[in-house]
């Protein structure tokens, strides 16, 4: 028994699926196909790890949905379930889902099939008169990434109609790299990022103020200004046009990632974008990378460290203490510090800090000269496990090889996308 996926869609379902692929293509050049009992998830992450997208199609979205994971029996009775590790190049899959309106009209059904022991994904379109179009795409074996983000603890939550986002997007030119979202309990403003306008004396600075009554839901816990990449926003808009569902935005303070979600019962899309950290946390760190910090995590670390460390200083230490190899998988080694490596990280921090700190900068070397990207916070990443329940209780089992692992277990609740 191999890990496999088989699903069938109608013409209109293909249109939504295709829009999801198009939206994700704005974030990354690679896409994971990740089936589970929750449905088929399409996941991607950008090269600088500052944007993540996941579109989850529930089993009832499809005309037919079938999946299985590979169960490996071992002698010591510890069965491991291996999920499908399928990564496709966006260049291969995107051209297949072109001309979605015409596909919607002309195809009777679309079948997607793959197995972990084959090396390819087969996508077939069935037209009238017995015409069939088949695509075979080779996939790379790669463990999908997922992001841990708790929407429930976000201070600020908005729900908007896609129309509002579309109106906001036309204000900015395609050369605009970053935009800033500023909210108060009474109003909302989207504007060109201040940093950028200062540098280029020819750049137009634009802003749009929208009253809170234009929102379906408007809950602002505190006045906030966050800055993030503009390009990914356009991708999200593309997808929202396909579903007609409102877009929910969850965010906190600068530096903590922002989540944009679209949920229309059959499909759930989540786009997590890193945000620029504010002046104070940047000043305190010699490196330009900063981390998104969950309060619960810092409490945990405080306990382990056994000292009375302030939040700010704690952030400094965590940053420097980037472990060399977080994950056994080669795709994830260049992700820098996550506090979930609790005590081992702390132990290392007391030692040769400078050596470790060089490592945590390795991620920044990927994007030389791109100052703004280096300042973006990194997000929590976890490897996807096919057994969600197991993952939920011990979310960080697959990550760090902590010596005192039991104490590292998180007792908080995180939403895993």
């Amino acid at each position: 028994v191999a890990a496999m996926l088989k699903c069938v869609m109608s013409g209109s379902q293909v249109k939504v699926f295709g829009k999801a692929v198009q939206a994700l293509s704005r974030i990354s050049d690679e896409l994971w196909l990740d089936p589970s009992k929750k449905g088929l998830a399409l996941r991607c992450v950008n090269s600088s790890r500052s944007a993540y997208g996941c579109v989850l199609f529930s089993p009832v979205f499809f005309q037919h949905y079938q999946w299985s994971a590979l169960v490996k029996m071992s002698e010591n009775e510890l069965d491991t379930t291996l999920n499908l590790k399928c990564k496709l190049g966006m260049k291969s899959i995107l051209p297949i889902f072109r001309c979605l309106n015409s596909l919607e009209r002309n195809i009777e059904k679309c079948k997607i099939f793959t197995r972990s022991d084959k090396c390819k994904v087969v996508i077939q379109f069935f037209y009238r008169h017995g015409i069939k179009r088949t695509h075979n795409i080779c996939f790379q074996e790669s463990q999908p990434l997922q992001v841990i983000f708790d929407k429930n603890v976000c201070t600020n939550t908005l729900m908007i109609q896609p129309r509002l986002l579309a109106d906001a997007i036309v204000l900015f030119t395609s050369s605009q790299e970053e935009v800033t979202l500023a909210v108060t309990p009474l109003n909302f403003c989207l504007k060109s990022s201040n940093e950028e306008s200062m540098d280029l004396s020819n750049a137009v600075y634009s802003e749009m103020f929208v009253g809170s009554d234009e929102f379906d839901f408007f809950q602002i816990g505190m006045d906030t200004e966050i800055t993030f990449c503009f390009k990914e926003l356009k991708g999200i808009l593309t997808f929202s046009e396909a579903t007609h569902a409102p877009i929910s935005i969850y965010f906190d303070f600068p530096g903590k990632p922002l989540a944009l979600s679209i949920d229309d019962m059959l499909v759930e899309a989540n786009f997590i974008l890193a945000t620029l950290a504010d002046e104070s946390s940047r000043a305190s760190s010699p490196q330009s990378l900063c981390l998104s910090q969950k309060r619960k995590r810092s409490d945990l670390i405080k306990k382990k460290a056994g000292k009375n460390i302030t939040g700010q200083a704690l952030e400094c230490i965590s940053r420097k203490a980037a472990p060399r190899r977080l994950y056994p998988k080669e795709t994830l080694t260049n992700i820098s510090a996550l506090e979930n490596c609790g005590s081992p990280a702390m132990k290392r921090a007391n030692g040769d800090v400078s050596e470790v700190s060089e490592n945590s900068v390795s991620n920044t070397e990927e994007v030389p000269g791109s100052l703004c990207l280096r300042k973006f916070s990194c997000m929590f990443f976890g490897a996807v496990s096919s057994d969600q329940q197991e993952h939920f209780n011990h979310p960080f089992d697959s990550l760090a090889r902590a010596s005192d692992s039991e104490e590292d277990m998180n007792n908080g609740s995180f939403s895993i996308f």
């Binding site: 137009v204 600075y205 634009s206 009253g211 009554d213 234009e214």
Partner: protein
């Protein structure tokens, strides 16, 4: 120096947006001259522009219901600003469903023309969109180069054919040669000619009509069919034609033999003059 103006009429706003789009197609960077009665978009005939110059004029009271300006000084009650034309047209484009549009000169971190739009929205609160367009204030000593060009007496003056037709002809000709001859006579005939070693293509426009001549004395001496011609860079002509999205109310072409061609257009109440020099 101060400038504030407001447009509340939808039709005026659309017209102003169209003019701004046209300017953006004709000149990447241009000068905006603000005076008590008029607004001008100016491109002067510097080498950088290839010798092309443009003078666009509109009466401010045809557009703005509020208009206040204070120039550099009492004797020089004018403001000359340099801006990237596309920045203005893009800002105006976002003002499609505006209740009101305000333009003013501001100095935030650097001098700007601030366009602020109050949008109509579904809810009770309005949406406010603001664009700060960076500008350069042009010092008084450079104003002399930015005055209305003197139009020399043309050898031939003729009404233009439908610009869209002219544009599609010129677009195809551009693929064959960069060098175009535009010639016309006082008998309502205008020709566009290109010539290479292998091929010669001419498009003839007839029955175009000529405006009445300024001076009667030369009228009898002149041969009505004699063509005045000028050799120009085809790309400059194409750029001019591409800027005319809407067919103008009036379109006149003045040719000074072997020197230049002058286009004199009227878009409702906005006048546009465009000068293309002869190829040297």
């Amino acid at each position: 120096m101060r400038f504030r103006a407001k447009i509340v009429d939808g039709a005026c706003l659309n017209h102003f947006t169209r003019i701004s789009n046209m300017i953006a197609k004709l000149a990447k960077t241009c000068t905006l001259r603000i005076s008590p009665d008029k607004l001008n978009f100016i491109l002067c005939d510097k080498l950088a522009n290839g010798g092309v110059s443009m003078w666009c004029e509109l009466e401010q009271e045809n557009f703005f219901n509020e208009f206040q300006m204070e120039g550099v000084s009492a004797e020089n009650n004018e403001i000359y600003l340099e801006l990237t034309s596309e920045n203005l047209s893009r800002a105006l484009k976002t003002a499609q469903n505006a209740r009101a549009l305000k333009i003013k000169l501001t100095n935030k971190h650097f001098p700007c023309l601030t366009v602020s739009v109050e949008m109509l929205s579904m809810s009770s609160s309005s949406r406010i969109v603001t664009h700060d367009i960076p500008i350069k204030v042009i010092p008084r000593k450079l104003w002399k180069d930015l005055q209305e060009p003197v139009v020399p007496d043309p050898d031939v003056s003729i009404y233009l054919p439908v610009l869209k037709t002219m544009k599609s002809v010129v677009e195809k000709m551009k693929n064959i040669s960069n060098h175009l001859v535009i010639e016309a006579n006082l008998d309502g005939e205008l020709n566009l000619k290109i010539e290479t070693e292998l091929v010669c293509v001419t498009t003839h426009f007839k029955d175009l009509g000529n405006p009445p001549l300024a001076s009667e004395s030369t009228h009898q001496d002149r041969n009505m069919e004699h063509m005045a011609e000028v050799h120009i860079d085809i790309r400059k002509l194409l750029q001019f034609l591409a800027g005319q999205q809407v067919n103008p109310t009036k379109a006149l072409c003045n040719i000074v033999n072997n020197k230049m061609v002058h286009f004199d257009l009227l878009h409702e109440d906005v006048s546009l003059q465009y000068f293309i020099p002869a190829l040297s």
